[in-house]
Amino acid sequence: MAEHANHRADTAQPVARSPLSATPRSGPDPHSAAVCITERDPVGQLVLRGDPDESGFASRAAGVLGFDLPLKANTATRDGARRAIWMGPKEWLIVSPPQRTEGLQTKLQYRLRRHHAAVVDVSHSRVIFGLSGAEARQVLCKGCAIDLHPRVFGPGQCVQTRLARCHMLLHQLDDAPGYDIYIHRSFARYAWAWLLDAGSEYGIAASRWV
């Protein structure tokens, strides 16, 4: 047993890591940059599937979230750190603080137990990049075919589309313009590199979650 104990793995706190590579990058001062890209701290992400036409489904979900599910296509609702993002007619992405995710999942599953619904933890499947600044829209337009002009796309709107050669969920937060860009974890390095390249002509300041 003693020999066994010598080789036990150190079960001290396991370390959660960002998918971006360790290479640090220097860039312009955020105050002078026309675009800022920020790797957001990890959040909880739950896929909620269910039929809004089922009587009681939407109201029960809202009861747990504290705010309404967005029922209009390509819109998002939010309250503080929680968001509900429309992904499809019967699909939402619920974003919440990471330490609350498991509890939120359990509550939603319980409240929706009589509905044909599913709540799946996908917290680790996407990273979120915040993109903001005067030229943020220009940067996105280089790789995104969606019309992002303010007259048709503004705060509270979201869309699943392509960013260059990968999938993204785009959510506009404010008029700066500021966006949250959700990228699948395995594509994170590619998307980060692409955004830095696209932003370089304007001056892009980057900050990483470590």
Binding site: H4, H7, Q13, P14, R17, H116, A118, A164, R185, R189
Partner: protein
């Protein structure tokens, strides 16, 4: 001095052929070899509009869009029609009107930005460890981990022996994972897979084969029952998105009444596959809340617990044929758990393995790789997996398995091949014949689908798809190569541990 008569300048669109020469072709559009005769034929055939003549003759359809030819072509057409050139008109040019460079089209999608490189959370560890990488779809997967001075064969031999004699870890994170839940989840599996799913107990795993409507195998994988109405489906790395799209297509267009949700969780979980005779010992060192002994944790079952401090799903699923524990943890903790496995297993000689070794190990066991031993023309019966084709229930592709063509006895069937000399390695893709002739053509009866040197067995092994192969065990066939012919004996494709004692232990 005679005055020269002046006449207006006239265009000559067509130089008449000289009478005493053989007929010549008047090429008008040099890009598409369109002649004046072709234009005249179009008119005789009844075409009048310039757009119709263009399409009938292909005049003006080259990359220059007629910039070097249309003036002549349209004038000849007008002349032939007896109409004014302006009345005949011009064709629509396709963009770009002004030639542009490929560079302008490529933009910034150059070098590392040309195509995404998908990497797992353990990628930097693999790089540091000296791995060479293989492209699997857009993923970079470790191919093998050579030590200093090793050739690829040296490295693969060492990794294979480590798997059969000690313990290895494979990064299996790239495989597709689909969360399937709802009252009709089992019914969905039953309709998608060829085998039966309604009686799989909770906490158990089963291997499934998926066919297209044509009865041909298109994906395979192990699916686990997590709960009463909750399953986790596994797919091949390259087909993850395709299988999810397949499930959604059937649910949305053919079976809208089925109450089941499918969600991709491929990126949420990473997988470290711990494999080898010492796998259980290594797992004991990183996991103390799961009973790892065979009675409590049988082959093809699941337990949830904690591995290296991280909540984990552990499945006893084996692709190597060795005792294996597939450790699944949330992706952000992947590198932590991976490193913990290698720290804990140091005195066990724990070795990272790549896809090449994985390919060899599974071939020693006769396990197929969809897309390598299948190519869209191979049925489950061809693979020798007829026992997986349910007689009881309907499933996608079942009807196609009763066509005369899919019932033929001489279909290409999966077999093993062992070269008679015990040394020659058959090239993958090599054609197989029964009768050797001095030179081609020879009657081909099949091809080699997988071929490797087996360090454990000490000789090369191969899998092949051969006409009527299942009835040819023991027969000698021939693989003609450029410089020689290799004789090989048809065998079972299971070369090692046929009863599966190691993986079931």
């Amino acid at each position: 001095v005679a005055r020269l008569e002046q006449i207006p300048i006239q265009p000559i669109w067509l130089v008449p052929p000289s009478g005493n020469k053989p007929p010549v072709k008047h090429f008008v559009d040099l890009q598409n070899d369109v002649t004046a005769a072709d234009l005249e034929l179009a008119v005789r055939e009844g075409y009048r509009s310039v757009e119709h003549v263009k399409r009938y003759t292909t005049a003006g359809m080259g990359t220059d869009q007629g910039k070097t030819s249309n003036v002549n072509a349209l004038a000849i057409l007008s002349q032939t029609l007896g109409a004014d050139i302006p009345a005949v008109g011009t064709t629509t040019f396709r963009p770009p009107y002004t030639p542009i460079t490929f560079g302008a089209l490529a933009g910034r999608d150059l070098g590392s930005l040309m195509d995404p490189e998908r990497v797992t959370p353990m990628h930097d560890w693999h790089v540091e460890r000296g791995a060479l990488f293989e492209d699997v779809s857009q993923w970079k997967r470790p191919w093998y981990f050579p030590h200093a001075g090793e050739t690829m064969q040296d490295a693969v031999n060492r990794e294979c022996l480590a798997a059969r004699d000690a313990v290895v870890v494979l990064d299996a994170s790239t495989l597709g994972k689909i969360d399937i839940q709802g009252p009709d989840a089992a019914e969905l599996l039953n309709r998608i897979y060829t085998n039966d799913w309604l009686k799989l107990p909770i906490g158990r795993c089963r291997y499934g084969l998926m066919c297209g409507e044509d009865g041909m195998v298109f994906d395979d994988g192990v699916t686990t029952r997590l709960g009463e109405t909750h399953y986790l489906m596994s797919t091949t790395s390259g087909n993850a998105a395709r299988v999810l799209a397949w499930l959604e297509e059937w649910l949305q267009t053919e079976w809208p009444g089925l109450r089941v949700w499918c969600n991709s969780v491929t990126e949420h979980w990473v997988t470290a596959s711990v494999s080898g005779p010492m796998a259980r010992e290594l797992m004991r060192r990183v996991c103390d809340d799961i009973d790892l002994e065979p009675v409590a944790f049988p082959f093809m079952s699941l337990h949830e617990g904690t591995v290296a401090g991280v909540p984990a799903r552990v499945m006893r699923v084996s692709f190597t044929g060795e005792l294996s524990f597939e450790v699944n943890v949330p992706a952000a903790f992947g590198l932590s758990v991976w490193t913990a496995l290698f720290d804990a297993g140091k005195n066990l000689g724990v070795t990272p393995i790549g896809t090449e070794t994985m390919h060899v190990l599974r071939a020693e066991k006769g396990f197929i790789i969809a897309g390598q031993d299948t190519d869209g023309t191979v049925t489950p019966i061809d693979l020798g997996l007829g026992s997986m084709v349910s007689k009881r229930k309907d499933f996608i592709g079942k009807r196609s398995l009763s066509r005369t063509d899919t019932l033929r006895a001489d279909r290409k069937q999966l077999v093993g091949l062992l070269s008679e000399d015990g040394r020659s390695r058959l090239p993958e893709g090599a054609q197989v014949v029964e009768i050797v002739k001095p030179r081609p053509p020879m009657d081909m009866i099949g091809h080699v689908s997988s071929s490797y040197y087996s360090a454990k067995l000490g000789h090369p092994i191969a899998m092949a798809l051969i006409k009527g192969g299942h009835g040819m065990t023991g027969r000698t066939v021939y693989v003609p190569l450029q410089d020689r012919v290799v004789a090989a004996r048809v065998t079972s494709p299971v070369f090692f541990d046929p009863d599966g004692e190691r993986m079931r232990g």
